[in-house]
């Protein structure tokens, strides 16, 4: 039993990290530019299918395919920001509606391209690491490592670099930031590029683990949002922790309780935490 639970704690953290990378995107866009992008899941989908296309059809080795995939997702992000999102700044509901629209567009577009039948990549790194009864697929460990690195780097980057300071100044007070000489549209674009690129990376990693279908984005953006809020909007490490906590709760929850309720376990904890820490676990009061 303990091994069963331990296994799910590990596995849950890995799945959680996947939520975390989307959460990071949400936190960045919402925290810094005040733009709500619930369509991040779709950029994940784009990244995933792009990886699939490049690796399976294009014959690139997976690690090579990942990079252009991220760029493609980021490009899509750039366009949708230029076209739509920048008009929804600080407007939660409009951002929400634009996202709904985008989801419908991207999903159908990928249906045209890839059809509703799921596709699966060749196994990048098959096999699993076994410790006692606990088996962890090797690829999952790689994915986990990559995500953790990415998030930590982002964190350090935003804490240290000029862009980071600018970003936070902007988040605090856009007008002042503008006076300080932060070129705001450029900053907005940068954040949008980065967050959608992250989503793309998430998708690329996802593609190495699961089968792909056009509707895959929906679930993940919800989880990502939960994770972002759990960790506290605006807190970068919070998004990782939020994701991990969510993943572990779901994993361990489904061990002891019926799996049909899996999603409810995360939600219940989310509500409980929001009530006692309205700004999330790591969000500043």
């Amino acid at each position: 039993m303990t091994q069963l639970v331990l296994g799910q704690v590990l596995n849950g953290s890995i799945i959680g990290a996947m939520y975390g990378i989307i959460a990071l995107g949400i936190t960045l866009t919402f925290g810094i530019t005040g733009i709500v992008n619930f369509a991040l899941g779709e950029f994940m989908m784009i990244g995933a299918y792009a990886t699939y296309a490049l690796a399976e059809r294009g014959g690139l080795p997976y690690p090579v395919a990942v990079i252009p995939a991220c760029l493609i997702a980021a490009a899509a992000g750039y366009l949708s920001n230029k076209a739509f999102f920048r008009f929804t700044r600080n407007n939660l509901v409009n951002g929400l509606l634009v996202s709904i629209g985008l989801i419908s567009i991207f999903e159908s577009a990928s249906m045209l391209l890839w059809t509703a039948t799921p596709v699966e990549m060749h196994f990048v790194l098959p096999g699993a690491l076994r410790v006692g009864d606990i088996g962890l697929p090797k690829m999952k460990l790689v994915v986990f490592a990559v995500i953790v690195i990415v998030i930590v780097v982002t964190y350090l980057g935003l804490a240290r670099t000029w862009l980071g300071r600018a970003a936070f100044a902007y988040a605090q007070n856009p007008e002042a930031a503008m006076l300080m000489g932060v070129h705001t549209p450029r900053l907005e674009t940068a954040v949008m590029l980065y967050s959608t690129g992250l989503a793309g990376l998430g998708g690329a990693l996802y593609a190495s683990l699961y089968s792909l279908e056009p509707a895959m984005g929906g679930v993940y953006v919800l989880k990502g949002m939960e994770a972002a809020i759990l960790g506290g909007i605006g807190s970068l490490m919070g998004s990782l922790w939020g994701g991990v906590i969510l993943g572990v709760i779901e994993g361990v929850g489904s061990i002891f309780l019926p799996t049909a309720f899996r999603d409810a376990y995360g939600l219940a904890v989310l509500v409980a935490i929001l009530l006692f820490r309205p700004s999330g676990l790591f969000g500043d009061e």
Binding site: V93, N94, G101, S104, E107, A260
Partner: protein
């Protein structure tokens, strides 16, 4: 004003010109969803609370109405009342939790959504009562007293058209009455400036809760109607996408108005059937229309029309 009168006039006169189940059905669904949209607008557009709780109320009331009507042999109309009561209770519980802890915008939305989801999972897995994912088949129809022929079941498109239209009208009427009174003033005050409202002696918590409860109570009737019209109830009623759809209707039609949600509902219900293209293209177009409407007319169709009328008037 005249625009509204015209709209209602057209709606009530429509069956004279428009025959056929197909078109009328679009309107019937429009009206049922408009009930949801209007009540959502009461909470969101007028009181400024972005609630994602409508699907829960919609679904729960659909189930309750049917279960009470069949198991307790109640007539449809009586059965809707306990369902509305249940909606109020749910709203009071969820609402007081959220408002006590001062949850705003984003956070309020997420927590209400979370509750709604948990209720959905609960309904979906409570097989003994809700028949789980298999859902419930509703054979019965609501009945009314018709002078001359006594108690008759409501059948056929025309009957349903007027039934739903009247229900919508009543909902709008109730909302309008509330909004035109002190209640509406308090809602507005809370939406516009919560702190100021507080210093002017308005009990913010109470009025947020009131708006949430009234909105959900009225919304619950839509559930009963929908269940009996389509003749089939399943957990899909409580899906998140319902929230999104209603939100889209309100934003598209014009938040903070009572007519807007109806127009929005008509557009979004009619649109998919108006676009006669292959599936994927249609979905893409649908999304594009959503986005551009909201970007071109941030105040929604009715909001923009009003502004335009005002400008022309001034």
């Amino acid at each position: 004003m005249t625009g509204q009168a015209l709209l209602w006039g057209v709606l009530y006169a429509l069956p004279i010109f428009v025959r056929g189940d197909f078109l009328l059905t679009i309107f019937i669904f429009t009206f049922i969803y408009a009930i949801l949209a209007v009540t959502f607008d009461l909470i969101f557009g007028f009181t400024g609370q972005l609630s994602m709780f409508h699907p829960a109320v919609f679904g729960v009331s659909a189930y309750m109405t049917y279960l009470l009507a069949t198991n307790c042999k109640l007539p449809f109309w009586i059965a809707t009342l306990p369902s509305a009561a249940a909606a109020v209770v749910l709203a009071l519980i969820v609402g007081s939790i959220c408002f006590k802890f001062r949850l705003k915008t984003f956070y309020f939305a997420v927590v209400t959504l979370a509750f709604s989801e948990m209720i959905r999972l609960f309904v979906m897995n409570w097989n003994s009562v809700t028949n789980g994912t298999l859902g419930l088949v509703v054979a019965a129809k609501p009945t009314i007293y018709w002078p001359g022929s006594g108690i008759v079941p409501i059948k056929g498109p025309i009957a349903w058209y007027y039934l739903t239209l009247v229900c919508l009208s009543l909902t709008v009427l109730v909302c309008a009455r509330c909004l035109r009174s002190w209640m509406g003033r308090c809602f507005g005050a809370i939406r516009l400036n919560e702190d100021l409202a507080r210093t002017l002696g308005i009990n913010v918590f109470r009025y947020k809760l009131l708006s949430f409860a009234v909105g959900n109570a009225l919304a619950s009737f839509a559930g009963g109607l929908y269940g009996y019209y389509t003749g089939y109830i399943d957990p899909g009623y409580l899906g998140i996408n319902q929230s999104m759809e209603v939100l889209a209707m309100v934003l598209l039609g014009g938040q903070g108005t009572l007519i807007g949600p109806i127009v929005g509902s008509l557009v979004l219900t009619g649109l998919p059937h108006a676009i006669d293209l292959r599936a994927e293209i249609r979905a893409i177009l649908y999304g594009a229309i959503l986005i551009f409407t909201i970007l071109v007319m941030p105040r929604g169709i009715v909001g923009t029309l009003n502004a335009w009328r005002a400008k022309r008037g001034a």
